[in-house]
Amino acid sequence: MRRLIAAASAALVLGLTGLSPAALAATEGAALPHTDFPHVGVFGKYDKPALKRGLQVYREVCSACHGLKHIAFRNLTALGLSDDEIKAIAETYQIQDGPNDEGEMFERAGRPSDYFPNPFANEKAARASNNGAYPPDLSLITKGRDGHEGYVYAILTGYEEPPADFALGEGMNYNKYFPGHQIAMAPPLNDGQVTYEDGTEAKVATMAHDVVTFLAWAAEPELEERKAVGLKVLIFIGLLTAVLYAINVRIWSRVT
């Protein structure tokens, strides 16, 4: 039994360290500046005020170029917004609907059941207005990039003057953490760019932290429920396994 546990834990450690290409990739670039978000870890929960502020940053800054297609306005309940607040937010967006009785597509005010609209009609349109680059949808950005939240935060805060010998392409920007260091996105955040409703000072670091928290929620809205259910399940299955082990030991003590 002890050998079994040893073997299992050895396999686990190997899996955790050696085999994970994510770990591999993360070691390639510069060390990420900020990775300890409160929702990371076994008991971690989303920072609610940061979520709301992050929504504001997304709406006022990111949404100009980036979609959030997997999030519907109704999902914002999870941020602590009331039904009326959600309705009000939805109504600020124009959603394409149709065809109507004349066969035409038309625009109408958003409803809670609608999803955040894409800023561009399609990928070609997006590239045409962004110097050939395609601003990715942000619904899964923290889940779909090695380095996760820490990477997205690093990109948002990693703009620098390029080194003297660096050949920067036209219309490109130098970012310490982007693979190849040339990124089409101009520095999106400046101090004081948004006016937070809760009075928090809008520094670049704060805004980056807030919007990354919001995007982490957008990628994994089930995170808090998952951990809470998981804890109960583990305690239960642990107890059940202990009882079964006791029965097992007792029954086997009869064997001679």
Binding site: A72, R74, D101, P112, S113, V233, F236, I237, L239, L240, V243, L244, A246, I247, R250, R254
Partner: protein, 186 residues
């Protein structure tokens, strides 16, 4: 079932002849039962309408374009909803009927929030076909409302069953007038 409940010896007897069900086995059995339920329950719950489906469960309809005497069909929760702007004669006909003549006794006042507008789920209460009577030229049955071609149910100008096998009146969905020309169904 008497035979199955009949006890033969002790089912929990161990080879050593202990007859008492001991604490550990009972605990494990109870926990196993809870675990089984805890596994099966979420599996079954996945088949409920999902959150995005539920979010679409209300529909808003603009009534501006509907003329007197005209009907339209809109889709609500995968079902057709009939909206008829009734003529005065149709309203009068619906209100003149005595409750004694009805199988499913409902007054027209109970069924129409505004006399002019009738909102109905367009599904025959017999076996789920869609009755005729909404489009121009459709047969409207013996009572000027709707006629279900599947098994010959006749509905009146209030959508009430008057003749044929259907057991109940056409269902009135929950709806409210957001404004004079906008109705929200669901």
């Amino acid at each position: 079932m008497a035979e199955t409940s009949h006890q033969h010896g002790a089912p929990g007897a161990s080879p050593h002849g202990e007859t008492r069900r001991d604490f550990l086995v009972l605990t494990a059995g109870a926990m196993g039962a809870i675990a089984t339920i805890a596994v099966v329950w979420p599996l079954l719950e996945t088949m409920n309408p999902a959150a995005d489906t539920l979010a679409l469960s209300s529909t808003e309809v603009d009534l501006t374009a509907i003329e007197i005497g005209q009907s339209i069909t809109v889709v609500w929760r995968n079902k057709p909803v009939f909206i008829r702007r009734r003529t005065q004669e149709e309203i009068d006909a619906a209100r003149a009927v005595s409750l004694d003549d009805l199988g499913d006794k409902q007054t027209d006042e109970e069924r129409a929030q505004k006399p002019e507008w009738l909102v109905l789920v367009g599904v025959c209460t017999h076996l789920g076909c869609i009755p005729l009577g909404t489009k121009k030229g459709d047969p409207r049955g013996d009572f000027g409302g709707w006629f279900c071609p599947c098994h010959g149910s006749h509905y009146d100008t209030s959508g009430r069953i008057r003749k044929g096998p259907a057991p109940r009146n056409l269902e009135v969905p929950a709806y409210q007038f957001v404004s004079d020309t906008l109705v929200k169904i669901g």
